[in-house]
Amino acid sequence: MDKMPKWADVILTPLISLFLAFAISALVILAIGESPWEALKTMVTGALGSSYGWGFTLYYTTNFIFTGLAVAVAYHASLFNIGGEGQAGLGGLGVALVCLFIPWPHWSLALLGAIAGGALFGAAWAYIPAILQAKRGSHIVITTIMFNFIAAALLNWALVNWLRPVGSMDPASANFPAATHLPKITDMFAGVGIEWGNHTPANVTFFVALLACVGVWLLIWRTRLGYEIRAFGKSETAARYAGISPTRITVIAMLISGGLAGMMATNNVMGEAERLVLNNVEGAGFIGIAVALMGRNHPFGVLLAALLFGFLYQGGGELALWTSIPRELIIVIQALVILFTGALDNMVRMPLERFFTARRLGKRA
């Protein structure tokens, strides 16, 4: 017996929280002397008002889905993977190597290759913290933080000394060959004769991300492995009682997590930049933490949260581009959204629960 109907908890609570977050954001905008209404309009039209805006929103969403799923999978095994940033970065290296050094006949094969390469490198980067946690008890939070820094150094070195074409200013790899260029969503629509979001970076990887959501959902709630991951995440002693090996689950969960983070590179590195640039992850790894926590570590929740963050990112970008509002405002709005929907949800839920309980008791009487 629940205190309030499920729909209220799933829909009403986040909506009210979101509303509160935006209300406070409006106050902040007022405080810096701008018009909240204009800001909202710019954001909504910029991010959702046109297929063009959607093209960007979905691109960012794709990134956040991958990093969000990465955090979520590890979280189910009660491992707090803060290393998405580094794993996605290494994933970029994997994708770059696959695209640069293997002559692909067609993008579809290249995509599969890149997914494998990105996942492999991302997973490899998660493997070390995982094995240290499992065998040596080194706290995964520290090791993954450290591995973010180490990944940055490694990527920097690889780009400057190895992958950068001689004479290029840019610490970036050469451009990937044309055969590896992924179709943009624009192209896919054009195929059926619809003009949609010209020159936007959203590409076929978005569908890979959706598949990843489904895959993670199946993995966690439908497979034996997922069952073991969740059981281990809830109680290590109970897992051992049930014959589930803590080492094995720790390592596997982190490999999957790192692999998902690494797969993000198919979107930003292969799908958008079409070469590997420095700092290609741009904080998406950290946003993944917020996305996963807000999405309650459920793939569908992650998808929604990623969309929300994609919207904020693109809408905020528009805001910074076309109004005099500094781009940092978006970070503040993101913070408020995270705070209200993720951490202060009980503030909304408690009165709601009281309301529904009172109503139910009233009915009964």
């Binding site: 629940d2 497979t223 009682y241």
Partner: protein, 553 residues
């Protein structure tokens, strides 16, 4: 000065406790409904009721842990608003919770003074507490080492700490919530002697228990709760266990185990010279050898902390991390791996060992999983429950529904998280899962701890049925009654060793109690020897010379 029934106290003396119209709900669950209760000063008052009847809630309200939705509390005749535990403590109330509220990595002394310090500095408080503790220990025979950390103490001693905490705060009214669930008979007797002493001093005691024997033995008056309501308050002298049981459950309950003599077959489990050294290099199991044959129940009696837990876990395939195991175990004549990949619980299950662990909440169940998911726990990789890499959710659900029905799990809702079932029903889920696999060997630890009498009856029946189907059962319990009535043979463990074997028909609780305390010469032992030595589990003290158990006399 012992008061009689509730009505017999002179009108002039106000009762120690009066609860008037107390109601409390947790969200939609009404845990207490309009409860009235009067407890006379200087009496021992028992409260009984099924799991989830609302006993703990009521007492927690009295102690200020929960706030009642409505109702009034009067202490010594004066109405009082108990808003938090501090108010309760000031009003002279002390409570020993069902689940102890101790800080596990603190010393006894630190736990005692927590919240009752004399001043901002610790040293003087600790010094005073040390002296006072010594006095209390002497006065009430409640010896504990003040510098031991709680983690190192046996449950019995942890409970002493809780009682000392209350006495240190000069409690006049002492509430004990299921205090004997974790004690040996000797420890329980000891506790009751203390309680009697306290009552004689004029203190008032409320005792919650599931054991009717204890109610009959020690209480002056008793109240019965059912589904949040107070259904009866009677004088103990004027009632009987049968009547109480019926009041509690709402039907007649069989209080004895009904079983025919065992017909043992071939050995199922053969254990030879089994040793286990834990992570901290302490030898927890010290050369244990025994057999269990098909169609018999072997009970292991012992004070908790003497290696039974470790033995059960080891046989079940999950000895604590870092443990080293040597010796030999054969199941149906085939050796079992003691270390390496094939010594895990999954392999043991595949070989036909079922296991109801001692701790259902931390081991036997995933509390956040739905009941149906827990039904597959440990067996999720078996063909019945899986399809390739997938979990066969339909099959598991169907099986869960069957089990819930057959085991009368309430509420019969497979979607409900394990956490939301009462302890007894949680236990039924675990027992259903393990027993219905028809294992060749069933390991079962503390099967009825904290479980109400209705459920106990049911679980005992299932265990006997399994035995009658020709399976072997290894039962570990601190309940001597349970051991003696269920087992066909009884082994007693002390300090990691088996002290001896007894026939339950031919032995007595006293004799077993002596063995449990490490006394093998049970003929000539003095009576007090049944009380375990100060440190409940000697294995925690590797430095102490642990000579042959006889030397302990």
């Amino acid at each position: 000065m012992k008061s009689g029934g509730p009505g017999s106290a002179p009108q002039s003396v106000a009762p120690a406790i009066e609860l008037v119209g107390i109601s409390k709900s947790f969200g939609p669950v009404q845990a207490n409904k309009d409860i009235n209760l009067t407890v006379a000063r200087g009496s021992i008052h028992g409260i009984i009721g099924e799991n989830g009847a609302g006993k703990s809630t009521l007492m927690s309200i009295l102690y200020g842990f929960y706030k009642p939705d409505s109702g009034e509390i009067r202490i010594n005749g004066k109405p009082i608003q108990i808003t938090d535990s501090m108010t309760a403590i000031r009003a002279g109330i002390g409570m020993v919770f069902q689940h102890f509220k101790l800080v596990r990595n603190f010393t006894v002394l630190e736990n005692i003074i927590l919240g009752a310090e004399d001043g901002p500095m610790l040293r003087p408080s600790l010094a005073r507490a040390r002296t006072r503790l010594r006095e209390l220990a002497e006065e009430y025979e409640l010896q504990v080492d003040p510098d031991e950390t709680i983690d190192e103490l046996s449950v019995g001693h942890q409970q002493r700490v809780e009682i000392l905490k209350a006495l240190y705060r000069q409690a006049d009214i002492l509430i004990l919530d299921e205090p004997t669930g974790v004690l040996t008979p000797a420890e329980a007797d000891h506790l009751f002697r203390i309680l009697n002493g306290l009552r004689d001093e004029g203190k008032t005691i409320i005792l919650i228990t599931h054991k009717l024997r204890e109610i009959m033995e020690i209480t002056d008056t008793v109240s019965v709760m059912r589904r949040g309501e107070m259904v009866a308050s009677v004088s103990t002298a004027e009632t009987s266990p049968e009547e109480l049981a019926e009041l509690m459950v709402g039907r007649k309950v069989l209080l004895e185990v009904d079983k025919s003599p065992a017909q043992p077959g071939d050995p199922v489990l053969e254990v030879r010279d089994l040793r286990m050294i834990d992570d901290e290099k302490v030898e927890r199991i010290r050369g244990v050898s025994f057999d269990i044959r098909a169609g018999e129940i072997v009970g292991i009696a012992g004070v908790s902390g003497n290696g039974q837990t470790q033995l059960l876990e080891l046989l079940g395939g999950f000895p604590e991390n870092g443990a080293q195991v040597t010796g030999e175990i054969r199941l149906n004549g085939q050796p079992l791996d003691l270390s390496g990949r094939h010594s895990d619980a999954a392999t043991r299950r595949a070989r036909g060992i079922g296991h109801v662990p001692e701790d259902r909440q931390d081991e036997g169940l995933i509390m956040d999983f739905a009941a149906w998911e827990n039904v597959a726990f440990g067996y999720h990789n078996t063909p019945e429950y899986s399809n390739g890499i997938w979990l066969d959710r339909k099959a598991i659900r169907a099986d869960a529904e069957g089990k819930i029905e057959r085991f009368d799990v309430r509420p019969p809702n497979p979607e409900l998280a394990a956490r939301n079932f009462s302890g007894g029903n949680q236990q039924k889920i675990v027992v259903a899962r393990e027993v219905e696999r028809n294992p060749d060997l069933l390991l079962i630890g503390q099967p009825t701890r904290g479980v109400d009498i209705g459920a106990i009856e049911f679980i005992h029946k299932r265990i006997v049925e399994l035995r009658d189907a020709g399976k072997a059962v290894l039962l570990v319990s601190v309940e001597l009654d349970e051991i003696m009535s269920l087992s066909d043979r009884v082994l007693v463990m002390f300090d990691g060793m088996i002290m001896g074997e007894r026939d339950p028909e031919a032995t007595s609780a006293g004799e077993l109690g002596l063995l449990m305390a490490g006394v093998t010469d049970t003929e000539n032992a003095p009576k007090e020897a049944g009380v375990p030595p100060e440190h409940g589990h000697p294995a925690d003290h590797p430095d102490e010379p642990t000579a042959a158990p006889e030397g302990r006399l």
